[in-house]
């Protein structure tokens, strides 16, 4: 007699990779997979996924956004959960129902996707109650709350709760941790000097915190702040929260290269 695998203990999760993790920092996606598997999930990476559609959505192109939304909804059909390492991209999935009229069958499917889609720290903490973090980090970090994750999805305590399980890690909160870093997708190239003022304020708060590492949950914001820290010649490192939680900090930090890592060691 065969027994059915216990679905509830091994939920099938579709990884929403996100464009920036795919292109800039695959280690973030691998760290996400590692954490999901540690939490007992079966992880798959649907081939049909591309971008969440934010560039079109934020530029007012509703029709294109809806096309991308339909593609993403189809790509993640059949997964119990959809999890990604970004509050912003997962937040975009939560906007999908607004793109379809009330009687459109896609509306129901979009609502269904929304109910299954979670940012990684939120998923680990609120959905699967996972706290078996096995990692250590020798350093003092400060945490930037990215806007969409914070205000749209309510991600605030979850990453901090998980980070508190990391050995030797100290968290120094910066002033205005919840203030936008000035990335804003296309905003940073459409209004570069305003964006620069915002990120300059941010890097000031980051260095005032006394931390040696900036941690956050969204690569867009992290690329922006890391890029500014590097331009200012500051030695503060920047990492995505999943890299620390998964104990995958042997790769160079954002905007750094192998030889700098070697120098640091």
């Amino acid at each position: 007699m065969t027994t059915m695998p216990d679905q509830s203990n091994h939920p099938k999760v579709g990884l929403f990779v996100t464009c920036l993790a795919d292109m800039f920092r695959p280690s973030v996606a691998f760290a996400t997979v590692k954490l999901l598997e540690a939490a007992g999930c079966q992880v798959e990476v649907p081939e049909k996924q591309t971008c969440c559609g934010q560039p079109a959505y934020n530029s007012g192109d509703r029709a294109t956004t809806a096309e991308i939304a339909r593609q993403t909804i189809e790509a993640f059909d059949g997964y119990e959960y959809v999890v990604g390492p970004s509050g912003s991209c997962i937040g975009m999935l939560h906007y999908y129902p607004d793109l379809f009229e009330q009687n459109d069958p896609w509306k129901i499917r979009a609502l269904d996707l929304k109910a299954r889609a979670f940012e990684i720290t939120q998923f680990l903490t609120d959905i699967v109650n996972f706290d078996q973090i096995v990692a250590q980090y020798e350093g003092t970090i400060t945490y930037h709350d990215s806007c969409s994750g914070l205000r749209q999805l309510g991600v605030k305590q979850q990453p901090r709760q998980l980070l508190s399980k990391v050995d030797n890690l100290t968290l120094n909160e910066m002033e205005e941790a919840e203030t936008c870093c000035g990335f804003g997708g296309t905003f940073c190239v459409k209004y570069p000097d305003i964006s620069n003022r915002m990120v300059s304020n941010k890097t000031q708060y980051i260095s005032d915190s006394g931390a040696d590492t900036l941690v956050g949950g969204d690569l867009g914001c992290l690329l922006n702040m890391a890029g500014k820290l590097k331009r200012e010649g500051k030695s503060i490192q920047a990492r995505h929260v999943v890299e620390i939680l998964a104990g995958m900090t042997d790769t160079p930090a954002i905007g750094e290269a192998e030889y700098e890592l070697a120098k640091a060691l």
């Binding site: 795919d22 996924q49 007012g60 905003f187 305003i194 620069n196 590097k230 750094e256």
Partner: protein
Amino acid sequence: MQIKSPQFKENARIALHNVELQEALGQFKHGFPVNRANAIKRLPEFDDLRDAGRDLKNHIIQNLDIYLEQFESKVIENGGHVHWCRTAEDANKTILDICKQVDAKTVTKGKSMVSEEINLNDYLEANGVQPVETDLGEYILQLRGDHPSHIIAPAIHLNVEDVSEAFHTHHKRPKTGDPQALMKEAREVLRKQFVSADVGITGANFLVAETGSTIIVTNEGNGDLTQTLPKTHIVITSIEKVVPTLEDMSLFLRLLARSATGQEFTVYNTLSSGPRRAEDQDGPENFHVVLVDNGRSEMVGTEFQEMLRCIRCSSCMNHCPVYGAVGGHSYGWVYPGPMGSVLTPKMIGIDKAAHLPNASTSCGKCEEVCPVRIPLPKMMRHWREKEFEKHLTPKAVRFGIAGWAYFAKRPALYRWLARSSAWFMQKMAGKKGRINKLPLAGGWTDWRDMPAPQGKTFMDQWQAKQKAGE
């Protein structure tokens, strides 16, 4: 006021280089937002009040005609007059006619953003009536030929030196840099104006339908003198300010003061209910309410309807990181910050105001602090959609989106694009892990480095691992 919204980028660039303004803005963010946060800590039910405020405003907007007519009949019953003005021109003309009827030479004015919206001061002056602003900030701006850069702290962009200079030039008195002395000087000059004015014009924060009353809140008391001393009192206000009862009004007063300045209550809350009665000690002989529409009724039933809930507290701009970087004048018209970025396109046209709803990171802070929970980022996006539908979106953006969308709709091609971009950027970065200068991304690399991709894309690495059976 001259529309400068199309030059938003240039305005912002100048503002970012204005050392004095940057200093003022730097201090500003430690003022109102901190006071608001402290005030809210002392009122645990604040969020419930916000829900109540939102729901009540929604009810009012659904029944705007009923409450406005009730308000009108009460004002008439009290011996006053109500003037319905569809456009800014109608409102200006109506006010000038009233001034002419009483042969007015000078009018004192309490602070009113609606009067800024319709450009009342210039209109009156051009027609031989001298307006005198009595709110200290507005008075300073009037002397300087300047305009408000904030809806409740109009002269926030100026420093003491600017005020000292303006007073010295216009009052012909010895120069002083002492704020207390400057305040005393303004009080002395304005006192004469209050007494000699023929007409007093004030705005209104709310209109109470059940009593036919208008209310203004100030921290200086200038509103009281403006409306009680002259023989004629004109209230200029807009249609969405009506509330059903005095009880409802007090709900909004609680939300307003805390959201605006972090006060529990504004210092002066002055109600006007018609001209003076026989038994009254003071008050005007004539009482007029000028109700301005100026595009508001057209917002009912559209995606912008919720904007009519706005009670003009300024909390959105006080907390906006973009406003905090560029100040109010950059927005180029009367209403700055997030609320302005939603209202201005309605009033001057999206073709002229397109930058405003675009110059936002959609961070959502404005919605988080709005006392009546207006989804401001969503509305800014609605304006971007209008802009896109009307083919007003800049060509470079349209082409960029179309090009990106071509790939994003084709997963295999998208993989190729990611792979090629990662490869290209890595070549650009060399051994450094970051790029100093990137073609087509000058907006980024002029100010910051571009971190380089790690290597092969995740999708390529994942597929290789799957094939290898890892």
